[in-house]
C-alpha cells in the first residue's frame, strides 16, 4: 500500500497554499520586521510607504481590534510589536498592497526609531541574569546527591548542541478571506489549525466560530508550523478583517529564516556515576535551553527534554533540572523530537565521556544499562512492553556489531590519513502529548448514499502519510475498498478544538477516532442488514465490500446495503471522539503516566573521516526499529529513513549561526546546509523488529514520526570516535554539530593561526 498523495505530487497537481488561485481584489501582505534584537520602540513612520504605488494599508499594533497577543503557553508574545522589540525579525507592521512586489518595495520606505537595549543570545548569560521564560523544572527519582559516595567512577562535563532550521521547502503563509458574517475564512499552512483559529479570534476580538481555518496539506512542517504558523495566519486575517478584502501573506525564504524560531540550542552540565559493574548509579544534569524572546512551545519542549534525559537507560538516581532561558532571538519552537534529542545528546555525551576515561568502547557501557521491563523512569511511569534490549541485541546480531567494530579497528590500523568511527545509538521515545488534555480528537465520517465515504479528522497531512493511514483504517474497519474513501481537508468547522499534528501522535489519535466512527457505522449498517435481510446479527461482517453472514455471502453488498440503509432513514454519518485512556501527569510533582507507550530501537553507525581535509562520509546507518505491527511499511520506512537523515543533518552540517547582535548569519540555503542526496548514508538498513505493537497504537502500529530523528545522534559519536582514532589525546568538547571545521580543528589542535590580524569578524 502506497502513500495516496504522491500520485498527485509527481504530477504537480497537489495544491499547496501558494497554488490556490487568487481571488480578484486580493491584497498582498509583507511584514516589516524589527531591525534590532532588543530595544524600545520610539516611533514608526510609514507615511512614505502609504504613499507608495499600490499600497492600500499599513497595519500596526494599534489597528488590532482584539488583543495583541498570540502566546500559546504563556501570554508573552504580541502579534505586532508594541512598546518594545525583543528580537531581530519581530513583526512590527504589516504592509498591504495590490501586488507582492509593491508590498515588498514599500517595506523599504518604513522608518523606525528604536532605543537599543542590551542583547542576550547565550542561554547561560540569560540564566545568570535571571531571564527565565517559566520557573525551572526538576525531575527527580532516588537521591543522586547521596548516591555519589557509593559510585566507583564519577565523570562530569559540558555538552552543547546547536539549533536546527526546519527548512520546510514550502515557506510559511496564509490566505484569508473576509466573510459576510463579519469573520474570516482562511487557508493556512499550519500543523495546528485550531491554534491559528483561536489566536486569530483573540486578535480580532471575535468568537472562534467566526474564524474558519482550512488546511489541505503542507510542503513540510517538522514542528516549524505547529505554533509558528499562527502569526502569519493571524496577520493575514487581520488584514482581511480590516480591509474586507482577501489578503495573502507568504514569507519569502530569507524572511522565513530570519523571523521564525528553530530547534532549541542547549548548553548542559552533566555528572554521571557508575558502580563497580559499570551500572549507572546516578545522573545529574542541568539544561540551559535557549528559548528565544518568547515562550512559544519552549516550556513543553523543555519538559520533554526532562522526560528523555535518560534516553533508553535505567538510572535509579536522577536529578534533571531545566531552565528555559529568555534571549533576544526569534522564539525557538517545536522540531521533530521536541526537546527529546537534546536530552538524549547529553546522556550519550556523559556515557562517551565515561567510556573514553575508562578506556572502554562506549557501547559496552550503553548495553549494560539499557532499560528492562518494569524499570521506572524518573517520572515514575514504568517501562512496559519494553524492547530496549531486544532492539539492541537484534541490531547487534542482524548487522554484526562486533564485525563492524572490528572492521573499523582493522581499517584504522592500516590507514593513516583516513579513519573510521563507530557508534551505537539506542533510543526510547514516549508517545503522547505530555500535556494530557491534548490527547483527544474527533473524526467525522460521512457515508454518502452511493457508498462513497468522506472523512474529516484533526490530522494535517504534511508528508507523514497520515491521510493514507486513516484511509486504510477506515477501509479495513468498514470492509471496503480504499478507493471509495476520500480524506477531506482539515477544517475547523468540521472538526473543532483539535490538537496540532505533532508529538508523533497524529495517526494514533485520529486513526483511533476514525476507527471508532467507522466501527459505529459498520455496527449500524449490519444491524440494518440483519433486520432488512433477516440475518443473524452475530457473525455478520463486511469483507471486500460483500456482506457475509457467518462467512457466507449474503444477498447484499456495500453499495446496496448503504442505499437500503439510507432509504430506511439510518444515520450514515458518525462523529467519534477519542481520548487516549489512562494518561495522567502531575506537573507539580513531575510524576505520572504521561505516555501511551514508548518506542524503542537501536542504530549502528559507521563513518569515515578524511583526516587530511576534515571531511567525512556516513558509510552505514543500520537500524533495528520497533514499529509494532506496521500496516504501511512504505510510509513507515520512509519516516525512519527520512527522520534519521534529518537527525544526521542536525548533528553534522546544519549549523544555525547568530552573531552577538542577534542577527542570523545562516540566513539562506547557501549558508545553511541540509543533507543532499550525497550526504545520505551510503547504506541505510532498516530492520523491522518483531514486536507486538501496543494496543494504544493504531492497529498496533507504533508511532514513527519523531523517534528516528534521534538515530542521527549516533553519527556525532561515530565522528568523534574516528577523530580520536587519529588524534587520541585531543580533549574534544561535546559540541554538536560536528561540522568539517570542528573535525579538522580537532584533528590538528596544535595548529595556531599565523596571523590573527586580518581576522576581523565580518557579518
Amino acid at each position: 500500500m502506497n502513500h495516496l498523495d504522491p500520485q498527485r505530487h509527481v504530477r504537480g497537481e497537489s495544491q499547496y497554499l501558494d497554488d490556490v488561485p487568487t481571488q480578484q481584489g486580493t491584497l498582498y501582505a509583507a511584514v516589516f520586521e524589527s531591525p534590532l534584537a532588543h530595544g524600545v520602540l520610539r516611533s514608526l513612520d510609514f507615511g512614505a510607504a502609504l504613499a507608495a504605488p499600490g499600497v492600500a494599508r499599513v497595519l500596526t499594533a494599534a489597528d488590532i481590534p482584539g488583543e495583541n497577543q498570540i502566546g500559546g503557553i504563556v501570554a508573552d508574545e504580541p502579534l505586532l510589536a508594541e512598546g518594545h522589540v525583543h528580537f531581530r525579525g519581530q513583526p512590527v507592521a504589516l504592509v498591504l498592497a495590490r501586488t507582492e512586489a509593491q508590498a515588498h518595495a514599500a517595506l523599504k520606505l518604513i522608518k523606525v526609531e528604536i532605543d537599543p537595549l542590551p542583547i542576550i543570545t547565550d542561554p547561560r548569560v540569560a540564566a545568570a541574569q535571571g531571564e527565565f521564560i517559566v520557573p525551572p523544572r526538576t525531575f527527580k527519582i532516588g537521591d543522586s546527591e547521596a548516591a555519589w559516595a557509593a559510585c566507583m567512577h564519577v565523570f562530569e562535563g559540558v555538552a552543547e548542541n546547536g539549533g536546527q532550521e526546519h527548512l520546510y521547502i514550502e515557506t510559511q503563509g496564509a490566505y484569508a478571506f473576509p466573510t459576510e458574517m463579519g469573520g474570516v475564512r482562511m487557508i493556512s499552512s499550519t500543523q495546528g489549525p485550531t491554534a491559528v483559529q483561536r489566536h486569530t479570534a483573540h486578535v480580532l476580538g471575535v468568537g472562534m466560530h467566526q474564524v474558519e481555518v482550512d488546511v489541505t496539506r503542507l510542503g513540510g512542517g517538522f514542528g516549524g508550523k505547529e505554533d509558528q504558523a499562527t502569526p502569519w495566519g493571524a496577520l493575514a486575517a487581520l488584514g482581511a478583517f480590516i480591509t474586507k478584502k482577501p489578503v495573502k501573506l507568504v514569507l519569502d525564504r530569507m524572511a522565513d529564516m530570519r523571523m521564525t524560531g528553530k530547534r532549541h540550542p542547549y548548553s548542559s552540565d552533566f555528572k554521571i556515576g557508575f558502580d563497580a559493574d559499570l551500572k549507572i548509579v546516578a545522573y545529574e544534569v542541568t539544561f540551559y535551553q535557549n528559548a528565544g524572546a518568547a515562550a512559544d512551545l519552549s516550556p513543553a519542549v523543555m519538559e520533554r527534554t526532562l522526560f528523555h534525559a535518560t534516553n533508553a537507560y535505567f538510572v535509579p538516581n536522577v536529578t534533571a533540572t531545566a531552565f528555559s532561558c529568555r534571549t533576544n532571538l526569534p522564539p525557538n519552537t517545536a522540531f521533530r523530537g521536541f526537546g527529546g534529542p537534546q536530552g538524549m545528546f547529553v546522556i550519550e555525551s556523559a556515557l562517551a565521556k565515561a567510556a573514553e576515561e575508562l578506556g572502554l568502547p562506549t557501547h559496552e557501557l550503553q548495553r549494560r544499562n539499557l532499560l528492562r521491563e518494569g524499570d521506572l523512569f524518573s517520572y515514575r511511569q514504568a517501562a512496559e512492553m519494553c524492547h530496549a534490549e531486544q532492539a539492541w541485541d537484534t541490531a547487534a546480531r542482524e548487522f554484526d556489531l562486533a564485525g563492524m567494530r572490528a572492521e573499523v579497528e582493522k581499517f584504522n590500523q592500516t590507514n593513516k590519513l583516513k579513519k573510521k568511527g563507530f557508534a551505537v545509538m539506542p533510543i526510547c521515545f514516549g508517545i503522547s502529548f505530555t500535556k494530557t488534555p491534548m490527547n483527544q480528537t474527533r473524526a467525522l465520517v460521512h457515508i454518502y448514499s452511493d457508498g462513497s465515504v468522506g472523512i474529516s479528522t484533526g490530522a494535517v497531512e504534511m508528508g507523514q502519510g497520515v491521510n493514507t493511514k486513516i484511509a486504510q483504517v477506515a477501509a479495513r474497519t468498514l470492509g471496503i475498498s480504499i478507493s471509495r474513501i476520500k480524506i477531506e481537508t482539515t477544517n475547523t468547522t468540521r472538526v473543532a478544538n483539535t490538537s496540532p499534528s505533532a508529538a508523533s501522535a497524529t495517526a494514533d489519535l485520529n486513526g483511533k477516532a476514525t476507527e471508532m466512527a467507522c466501527a459505529a457505522l459498520r455496527k449500524r449498517l449490519l444491524e440494518h442488514a440483519s433486520t432488512e435481510y433477516t440475518l443473524n446479527y452475530e457473525g455478520l461482517e463486511i469483507h471486500d465490500e460483500q456482506v457475509l453472514a457467518a462467512g457466507v455471502p449474503a444477498d447484499t453488498n456495500w453499495e446496496k446495503l448503504v442505499s437500503s440503509a439510507f432509504w430506511k432513514r439510518v444515520a450514515l454519518t458518525e462523529n467519534a471522539h477519542y481520548a487516549t485512556p489512562d494518561l495522567h501527569f502531575d506537573p507539580t510533582v513531575n510524576q505520572g503516566h504521561p505516555f501511551a507507550y514508548h518506542v524503542y530501537g537501536t542504530a549502528l553507525t559507521s563513518v569515515t573521516v578524511d583526516c587530511l581535509r576534515g571531511t567525512y562520509t556516513v558509510d552505514a546507518l543500520r537500524i533495528a526499529h520497533d514499529f509494532g505491527q506496521s500496516f504501511n511499511e512504505v510510509i513507515d520506512r520512509g519516516q525512519i529513513e527520512g527522520g534519521a537523515v534529518q537527525g544526521i543533518g542536525w548533528m553534522t552540517m546544519e549549523e544555525v549561526a547568530y552573531n552577538a547582535e542577534g542577527r542570523l548569519l545562516s540566513n539562506s540555503l547557501n549558508s545553511y546546509k541540509i543533507p543532499d542526496i550525497y550526504a545520505a548514508p551510503r547504506v541505510l538498513d532498516v530492520h523491522f523488529l518483531d514486536t507486538p505493537g501496543h494496543p494504544k497504537a493504531i492497529l498496533r502500529s507504533k508511532a514513527v514520526g519523531e523517534p528516528p530523528l534521534m538515530y542521527g545522534i549516533g553519527t556525532y559519536f561515530a565522528l568523534r570516535d574516528a577523530v580520536r582514532a587519529f588524534q587520541g589525546h585531543t580533549a574534544l568538547p561535546f559540541s554538536a554539530p560536528m561540522t568539517p571545521e570542528k573535525v579538522l580543528v580537532s584533528l590538528y589542535p596544535e595548529f595556531v593561526g599565523v596571523s590573527e590580524a586580518a581576522a576581523v569578524a565580518r557579518d
Binding site: 504530477r11 576534515g614 539562506s668 547557501n670 595556531v752 596571523s755
Partner: protein, 513 residues
Amino acid sequence: MIEFYLNDQPIRTSEAPASALLDFVRYHEQLKGTKIGCREGDCGACTVLVGELNADGQTVNYQSMTSCLTPLGNAHGKHIVTVEGINAAGSQLTPVQKAIVDEGGSQCGFCTVGFVMSLTGHSLSTQPATEKSTIAAIDGNICRCTGYKSLERAAARLTAELEQRPSENALAWLSEKQFVPGYFAEIPARLAKLKLTEATTTGAAAVTIAAAATPHANGGSVSTSSNGHAQNQNDHGHSATPPFTHPLVGGGTDLMVQRLEELREQPGVRLIFDQPGRRGIRHETTGRVVLGAATTASQLLESDLMRGLFPNLPQYLKLVSSTPIRNMGTVAGNFINGSPIGDLTILFLALGASITLLDAAGASRELALPDLYLGYKKLAKAADEQVIEISFPAPLASDFFHFEKVSKRTHLDIASVNSAAWLRVENGVIQAARVSAGGVGPVPLYLARTSAFLQGRELTPETVTAANEVMQSEISPISDVRGTSDYKRLLLRQLLWAHFLEFAPELAVDELI
C-alpha cells in the same frame, strides 16, 4: 518580444527579459506544478527543462535548469518544459513518476516535481544512464523530508529502464514508453521555424548586443557564477552591493539571486547567455586552449578536449554547484562575479588563464586573470568592456594539475576554502608551479609568492612545509559563516598537502600527523 514554446504552447511575451522564468510560469501562465523553495538555485523545487535546438536542426538538447534563476529572456527560441508538459493524459504516470511513487520517493511532495523534471531531463539525455549519472541528475534537488534512500531506489529503477533506450531515435522510444508526450516529436521543427522567423526580423530582445554599453557603478560587467550566489560569500549583505546600471546577465545564477526585483525594474539589461560566438572550446596551434566566455560549466565537462587535458575534471566539477546550475552558470560569469571563492576562477588561475576583453568601440585587449582582481569585487575592467574569450596554455601530459575544495556540505555548497595547483616536475625538481586559493582573501588569489617559491625546489615534504610558510604570509582570511580565519588557514595548509600527496603519494605523511 520573447518567443518560445512552453510545453506544447507557443509563447510571445513582452514581460521583462530579466524577470524570472519561474514567475512567468507560475503567475503568468498559472502552471502551479513548478514550486518556489528558495529562489537561489539551492533547492531545485523549481526545476524545469530547457530545450535548445541542436546544430543538426533535427534534435533538441534538453537540460535541467532552476527556473528561479533563469532570466525569462534566456527562454527565447527554446522549449521550456514544466511538469504540466510531460504529464500523460488521464492520471497515467510517466515511468519517472511511477518509479518515485512506487518506491515511496515522495513524502510532503513539495520538492517532488523538481526531482521528476531532473530525472525526465536525464531520460532525455543522449548519454548512457548509469547508477552514478542518474543520481548526479538529482544532485541539485533537495528533499527536506530527507527521503533520499527511496529516491535512490527510484533512480535505480529508472536506470534499469533506461538501459533499454536505443541510442538512435531515442525520442521515439521515450515517447512510446510515455516518458514524454507525443508532441515532443514536433518540437524540433517548431523551434527551427521560430529561429527562421527570428532571422528574418530584427530586435530579438533576448540577444541584442548594444554597441554602446553604458558605464556601470561597480566598474565591471556583471554576469553569472558557476557556483551560484557567490556574492554572499564574505559579503556584507546587499546594502554593501552597489546598484548596477545596464548590467549584462549571463546564466543568471549570481545576479538573479536575491536581487530579482532590482534587476527586473532595471532598464537596459542585456542578456548575453545566447550571444552568438561566445561558446565553444578549441585548441589553437599556438598551444593555447580558447573558450568562449559564455561556456557553461557543463560544457567544460562535455568537452572531449577538456576531459582529455584534465582527466579528473568530472571529479572537480562534481564539487561545483549542481547539475542545473552548471547548465546555466558561465565561466566568464564566475570570473566577473569576483567572488573570493569562485570555484572556476580558482581552477583557471592555476591554469595560467587570460581573458580577452572587448570594449564598446570594438577594441580588444588581453588581461592575465590574476590582474583582473583589484580588491573585493573590484575589477580592472572598464565599464564598457565585456569578456569574450578565455584562454590558457594547454598543460603537457606530464604536468600535474589538481583542484581541491572543502565546504560544509561536500556537494552543492560554497567553499570554505578551495585551491588549485599546476606543477611541472622534472627529475624530482619543480620546474614551474602555479597555486591558487579561494576563501582566504578579498579576491580569488593567485598565490604568486608561493608559486615562485616552489620553482626550482625539490619535491620533498620539507618543500611543502616551507611553501606553506610562504603561503600563510600571502593570505588574509576572515572569520565568517564559512569558518573562522584559523580554520581557513589550517584548511589551506591541508589542501596544499592534498595537492602534493595527490601528485606524489609517496611523500611522507608523518609531517602531518
